[in-house]
């Protein structure tokens, strides 16, 4: 059963140095507050998994928390490149970053396989594509019925997954609505799952029977962090802060500007600043 606690306590108890970590959210519901808490607590040597390692992973990488990144698209969506990640890959600053690169289809299938308890995902992919040459974790299996060669990648099985969701009940069930991304799969694939939520309610009265609900016993810890997805958004609560995504490009372009921003907004701040930020969004 999920424990409802502070974000600091959830992070303290659920993630250790060297862990394999997934933080998911596909544009929508990206767990920024949770990532900041992980940075504040100084976790290191993490293997970070995420389809689209946008700002939060740029921040974790820039702060030296990661030793490896598994991903499929490393961009600041709608803006450009991830400058901290590029600096790590191209110049090993602040430390070298090993990368394992896939396509979206491969990552989505690998999360699905993780949730399904399988060792690998099988899909029709990477045909004529060169990632196969540089990523030894892209293999193939042959269909015993048709002889077709299909792509295979290892299932994703994180030590811990972090997601942000709209609501949890007091007994710990979690509701995700709208653009779902791979969050359900990322939670079910992981050994431990931490969820930050906009709201804690008595009950999901009248929720649609087929809505995406993660039962309490699939989640380890839940923290109430209103605004915790900002500058991403939470449908029904606040919009995406597009201007911050543009501003980030400038902050991240310079090591000193980045370090100063992280000090002021992460290291010397707390999760409660998120509620302030989303006022008016």
């Amino acid at each position: 059963m999920a424990k409802i606690c502070s974000l600091a306590e959830a992070v303290e108890s659920c993630i250790g140095d060297g862990d394999v970590v997934a933080m998911e959210g596909f544009t929508h519901l990206i767990p920024h507050a949770a990532a900041h808490e992980v940075i504040r607590q100084g976790r290191k040597d993490l293997t970070l998994i995420r389809m689209t390692p946008d700002l939060i992973y740029d921040q974790l990488i820039g702060m030296g928390c990661a030793r490896k990144l598994i991903f499929s698209y490393a961009g600041n969506p709608g803006v450009g490149l991830l400058r901290r990640m590029r600096d790590a890959v191209e110049n090993a600053w602040p430390k070298p970053l090993e990368i394992e690169e896939h396509s979206h289809a491969a990552m989505a299938n690998a999360y699905e396989a993780g949730a399904a308890g399988l060792p690998m995902a099988v899909f029709r992919g990477y045909i004529g594509a060169e990632l196969k040459r540089v990523n030894p974790n892209i293999k193939s299996v042959t269909c015993p019925f048709t002889g077709e060669e299909l792509a295979a990648v290892p299932a994703i099985r994180p030590d811990v997954t972090f997601i942000h969701a709209q609501k949890a009940t007091r007994r710990g069930d979690v509701l995700v609505e709208g653009i779902l991304g791979v969050q359900k799969e990322a939670v079910l694939a992981a050994k431990r799952a931490v969820v930050t939520v906009e709201e804690i309610v008595e009950d999901f009265d009248d929720v649609h029977p087929n809505a995406c609900v993660l039962p309490s016993w699939t989640v380890t810890a839940i923290a109430h962090v209103p605004g915790g997805a900002n500058p991403s958004y939470a449908a029904g609560y606040y919009d995406r802060d597009n201007s911050f995504y543009i501003a980030w490009d400038k902050i991240a372009s310079d090591r000193d500007a980045f370090t100063a921003w992280m000090k002021e907004n992460v290291l010397e701040a707390g999760p409660d600043i998120f509620a302030e930020r989303v006022k008016g969004l």
Binding site: P77, E90, E101, G125, L131, V134, Y233, R240
Partner: protein
Amino acid sequence: MSDFTPNEMMTIAAARALSNDDVCFVGIGAPSAACNLARLTHAPDITLIYESGTIGTAPSVLPLSIGDGELCKTAITTVSVPEMFRYWLQGGRVTVGFLGAAQLDKFGNINTTVVGDYDKPKTRLPGGGGAPEIASNCGEIFITLKQAPRAMVERIDFVTSMGHGKGGDDRAKHGLKTKGPTMLITDLAVWKPDPVSKEFTVATLHPGVTREQMQESCGWTIRYGDDLGETPAPTAEELEVLRDLNARTKAAHGG
């Protein structure tokens, strides 16, 4: 008519290639503008799918990201990302996929991964995202690109997504039954693959574009179709609808 930009011409030429029955896998930027322009003009029932899981969207303003709330609000349904890639893309339900490129060769092979060597890149680009499987699973592929010598190159540094491979029947040799790139729409011209060699050849030049401009902005020796024509200039309606869409988008997304 001369009061349109090359970018507007590119978007409008791409929109014209879409029909009412198409199911499009839409990327952000020029593809999104083209698909929504088609929807707002000659193809009102076109189905637009964004990889965030939103199916049958009809945004009133262009999304800034692939997962904007507007896409979900106006969608017929929103599915998980694994389902999107399994049932909808791999399931063969998408007729047209749009791709952009950092580097493109004359056979429509695309690089969005690295400039230089993969292990020691000169420039680390965002990577493939959905592109490798969009390229193989969609019925056909339209590529949009601003022409530039460093974008249109003889040999790309990394094959992120397969176009026509080495040309000819190379796709079929890879077991692919989909058509691959059938159109390249740039700011200067519309290109189509030669039926046999699959090398992109220029089908129509946009109004006022010269062969000199073309070759200056392309790293390979350009071939022109025998029946080279001129891309019809944007109509007043096309321009008006596109500009309205862009104005609404700018107003909605603010500063």
